[in-house]
């Protein structure tokens, strides 16, 4: 089984090899190894990039292979981040509160501890009560379960409703976009209990590892992201390569025919939609401790569209394409907006890339859609394989 899977997908091995070399290289050049050519902040950028690659392959599976242009996968990503962020905030604050209360003569009651934690977490947004939604925040295990469960359940319910009503194509895209908008508007409210616009912050400080330096933590998260990406890649490669993959691709190309062949199209779509949502949640849970803060702005509909942009630029229908797209665009984007690109002096006008990068991105995106519908991955295809 394994042999046939690898044999059918030689690209998986190549990818794993490249990713492995890359991870070892970054670790060796980082501050942890003592070389320090790669700064901690850049390790974080790379670690975050790997998480974006992971959600990009999930997006590729749901869009490139199954033909569902979901504009909601970044919502699942955000939910994963929130779920893990709640534990991080709670546990860190609990540590501070317990230490501060321990100096008092009379031992604190559980109520006092919980009030003090609530006051620390919600004091900055003008409240001090623990909302219902934080019931499990004290348990790492349960919150990690949430990372998987909530995106999964949301995708399951939403997908079941949508696919059952045969909402397809553009309509589904707009519907998923509406879902994302509703979620981000909900989180923007202070009343939702997740600190509104401020979101959850200080997530880079991992409770229990206060003594560990950020240089070490950043490498740990980088390697964890790398491992998650590898696992995700193999898993999705397996999903799309077997019989299941053929059905899914069939649905993309002609849904009605697959249905007439006797397949229960809705179940396949629902499976793909849900499983990719779960992977997105995991990617988010790894991403936000590296970013340090999560807030509703992250979930805004435009983020999900950017995700589609990465996948399209990288090349749909091939997993490594999604990885290339996500890595390239996110890195280029931070290079250009970070002022890394040299300004171009045209004599009468100086092109400042901080201002013009988005214009360039926008138009290059149009160009890719028009002239290279297979994206960069397609180019890669063309070079590696013989032209068909």
């Amino acid at each position: 089984m394994k042999n046939t899977f690898i044999a059918q997908n030689p690209s998986v091995l190549w990818f794993l090899l490249a990713l492995g070399l890359f991870s070892i290289g970054v670790t060796a050049l980082s501050e942890v190894s003592g070389v320090g050519v790669i700064s901690t902040s850049f390790v974080k950028v790379l670690g975050k990039m790997l998480c974006l690659c992971l959600i990009a392959i999930a997006m590729d599976v749901v869009w490139g292979y199954c033909g569902i242009l979901s504009l909601g996968h970044f919502a699942f990503f955000g939910i994963g981040g929130y779920a893990v962020g709640m534990w991080l905030m709670y546990a860190r604050t609990e540590g501070i509160v317990l230490e501060s209360l321990s100096t008092q003569v009379i031992p604190p009651t559980p109520q006092e501890i919980s009030d003090a934690i609530g006051n620390q977490i919600f004091g900055v947004v003008g409240s001090s009560d623990f909302p219902m939604i934080w019931s499990f925040a004290d348990s790492l295990f349960l919150q990690l379960l949430m990372v998987v469960l909530i995106p999964g359940l949301l995708a399951l319910v939403f997908g079941w409703l949508a696919f059952r009503s045969r909402v397809t194509g553009v309509y589904l895209s707009i519907l998923t976009q509406a879902m994302t908008l509703a979620l981000s508007l909900y989180l923007f409210q202070n009343d939702s209990g997740l600190r509104g616009n401020n979101g959850l912050s200080g997530l880079q400080n991992i409770p229990g590892f206060e003594a560990t330096s950020q240089a070490t933590l950043s490498i740990a998260f980088f390697l964890a992201s790398s491992f998650a990406l590898a696992a995700g890649y193999v898993f999705f490669a397996w999903v799309v390569s077997g019989k299941m993959g053929s059905v899914v691709k069939g649905i993309r190309d002609n849904e009605a025919r697959v249905r007439f062949l006797g397949y229960h199209v809705e179940s396949y779509k629902l499976f793909v939609f849900t499983i990719t949502a779960i992977v997105s949640g995991i990617a988010g849970a790894l991403y936000y401790p590296q970013a340090g803060i999560i807030n509703p702005g992250e979930i805004a509909p435009i983020a999900s569209i950017y995700l589609a942009v990465w996948v399209a630029i990288g090349g749909r229908g091939r997993l490594y394409g999604a990885v290339i797209g996500a890595a390239l665009v996110s890195l280029l984007s931070s290079w250009f907006t970070g002022g890394g690109a040299p300004n171009i002096n045209l004599g009468f006008y100086t092109v400042n890339w901080t201002d013009w990068w988005l214009v360039l991105l926008g138009f290059s995106f149009v160009a890719v859609t028009l002239f290279f519908p297979k994206g960069i991955g397609g180019l890669f295809d063309y070079l590696v394989r013989k032209p068909q």
Partner: protein, 641 residues
């Protein structure tokens, strides 16, 4: 006749007083109050001024209120207007004119509260002034701050007012004053009863002030004009707190106080023989506290039972400030009648607001109804066409300073600009993607972010002003409760016009026929001699052009920024999808539903607009699950994707 006579007498006496004293010297006795006036202390000065009877007082007060009084560094006040670096000075008493450099002068700046008091002080001078504007401002001052003493002069000033509107307004305000201050209870009740059909804020405030009541508590049945008896069982802790505040019961001991009391009574690591380590629950702490109180070290706990006993032993009530029950009864009845009317009016206002919001959504979405609805092209840059239209309006206003004219120029120009942009986009991009609808979405999104950033680079990130002409400036006030601004009415009318125009173009013109033909079957249409390329181009341009005009309208009522399009794009798509794709009536239905729904939810939860938007979107998602093709679903072959 007698009025005139009195006025002459008044003038004479004041002229005589003027010889006795000058205004400037009077001001100098209050020099700090004039230079740095404060609401809390200015009334002494105002009374002195009014009492002095000097002729220049009214003039001075008006100028002071308009910040035209300047003080020279030696303390002398002048009426002055800046001219360049100089001041044109007018002597307060003699009226002599002169010029002086500004550097020696300090402007006096009475704040809003002081200006209001000045307005009240001016009432006596302005109530019968020949200038209608001054009379109006006097009445406004009375209405803003009604006082008993104003009733008689106001009544006296009604009869001779030549201006019918002002006279009516005087009568109305006099009626308000009578309701509160007339000496005869019969007059008051009559005035109160006459208010039963008046939903204005002023009339309601008169009633509410008559019915002002204060809460009280007593151990015996209360006396006076009692409004109602309150039931403490509704909120025992809240009412007990009132008892405590009135000094009629001991305060409850809060957990923090329990804790503090325990800390204060630690003896050798124990509190009342309970080891400290065990005090980590509320129960244990209360037990320790009770032990302490039994020893008499701390005040005893107030239990729930104690609280309820205390509450039962007292009567909580609200008592009217007005002692006469006949008047409060009449006012109560009138208020009920008015509130009934206000509730209806609020319902009407809600409908108007909903209609207005619907028309804005409709205007934003109608261009999309053509490009997406009729042609099936997802144009994510639609919002940016709205933005382009708004910026066109802004640029036109830079060159055409007359607002009315600039709007007349801007509307067709915005259409032209966005029509051109739409046609260009269709030719260059969308044409190649007709068979790949999902990719149009992505390509147009690319254009959208590029256009947004371009706008930022050209116009900056600052919001730009787009000002509506004066005749669109105000609001149509049906009553104080129901009102809608003219600009919203204009948008409503514009939306209706576009609905008619689009229906006409699609259903009654050759172009519309061809558009429908191309939409249904491009191949067949081509074989009938229609050029599908040309039709697609024109249709897309038409839809985009309408977005441009919508942009001008939206910019007029809200703001012009590079991100304004993004605010409307998701809503617009939802409007079209909810309404039903391919049908302009559907878009109208969708906009009405979304606008009405949003206002309805806002009404249910008025303090949180964000929640309203969230619930509305959730509702739309659910709605689409059950009517996936929208309110007005396409039938037959057009229904296939």
């Amino acid at each position: 006749m007698r009025q005139l006579f009195l006025a002459v007498i008044l003038c004479l006496t004041s002229a005589m007083a003027a010889q006795a004293q000058e205004l400037q010297s009077l001001l100098q006795t209050h020099v700090d109050e004039v230079a740095k006036p404060s609401r809390t202390s200015v009334s002494v000065l105002l009374e002195d001024l009014a009492g002095s009877g000097l002729p220049g007082v009214a003039d001075f007060l008006e100028n002071w209120s308009d910040k035209n009084i300047w003080q020279r560094d030696d303390g002398v006040f002048f009426i002055a207007t800046p001219q360049g670096d100089d001041l044109a000075l007018v002597d307060i008493d003699s009226g002599a004119q002169s010029f002086a450099p500004q550097s020696r002068f300090q402007q006096t700046k009475p704040n809003g509260g002081v200006r209001r008091l000045i307005g009240t002080a001016l009432v006596q001078f302005q109530l019968s002034d020949p200038d209608p504007a001054r009379r109006a401002s006097a009445i406004a001052s009375i209405a803003r701050k009604p006082e008993a003493a104003q009733l008689a002069p106001l009544l006296a000033a009604i009869k001779d007012d030549p201006d019918a509107a002002l006279k009516a307004r005087k009568i109305q305000v006099a009626n308000f004053l009578s309701a509160r201050f007339a000496p005869d209870p019969g007059d008051r009740i009559a005035a109160i009863n006459s208010l039963s059909k008046d939903t204005s804020v002023e009339a309601r405030s008169v009633l509410n002030q008559i019915l002002e009541a204060s809460e009280g508590v007593s151990a015996t049945p209360p006396e006076g004009n009692i409004a109602r008896i309150l039931d403490p069982a509704q909120d025992p802790d809240g009412f007990y707190a009132k008892l405590v505040a009135a000094g009629m019961a001991p305060a409850r001991i809060s957990p923090a106080e329990v804790r503090a009391a325990l800390e204060a009574n630690i003896v050798a690591g124990k509190v009342a023989s309970i080891p400290l380590g065990q005090l980590d629950s509320d129960d244990a702490r209360l037990r320790a506290y009770t032990l302490l109180s039994e020893e008499g070290l701390v005040p005893p706990l107030v239990t729930d039972e104690d609280r309820d006993n205390a509450l039962n032993a007292h009567v909580f009530f609200e008592r009217y400030a007005e002692p006469d029950p006949a008047i409060t009864k009449a006012a109560e009845a009138t208020r009920q009648a008015v509130e009934q009317r206000v509730a209806w009016a609020q319902g009407g206002d809600l409908v108007l607001d909903g209609l207005s919001l619907a028309s804005i959504y409709f205007l934003a979405a109608i261009g999309l109804a053509i490009t997406f609805g009729v042609m099936g092209v997802i144009n994510m840059a639609h919002g940016e066409f709205i933005m382009m239209g708004a910026y066109t309006g802004y640029v036109v206003q830079l060159f055409v300073p007359d607002y009315t004219l600039s709007i007349i120029v801007a509307l067709p120009l915005a259409f032209a600009v966005t029509f051109g942009a739409g046609v260009a986009m269709e030719r260059l991009v969308i044409r190649h993607l007709y068979h790949r609808p999902l990719e149009t979405l992505l390509a147009t999104f690319g254009i959208s972010i590029a256009l947004q950033q371009l706008a930022k680079n050209i116009f900056g990130t600052q919001a730009r002003p787009l000002t509506s002409p004066d005749w669109l400036g105000g609001a149509w006030m049906i009553s104080d409760v129901i009102s809608i601004s003219y600009i919203r009415i204009a948008i409503f009318v514009l939306a209706l016009m576009f609905l008619a125009l689009i229906l006409y173009v699609l259903k009654r013109t050759r172009l519309g026929l061809e558009v429908r033909a191309v939409t249904q079957n491009p191949g067949m249409a081509a074989s009938m001699g229609i050029n599908p390329d040309r039709i697609n181009m024109l249709t897309f341009g038409f839809g985009s052009g309408i977005a441009g005009i919508a942009g001008v309208a939206i910019g007029l009522y809200a703001k012009v920024t590079s991100e304004m399009g993004a605010d409307y794009i998701v809503q617009s798509f939802m409007t079209v999808v909810v309404g039903g794709v391919g049908n302009v009536w559907g878009t109208l239905a969708g906009a009405s539903m979304i606008g009405g729904l949003q206002k309805g939810i806002e009404w249910l939860n008025p303090s949180n607009t964000l929640a309203a938007q969230t619930y509305m979107i959730l509702f739309i998602i659910l709605f689409i699950q059950f009517r996936p093709k929208g309110i007005v679903a396409p039938k037959g072959r057009a229904a296939a994707d």
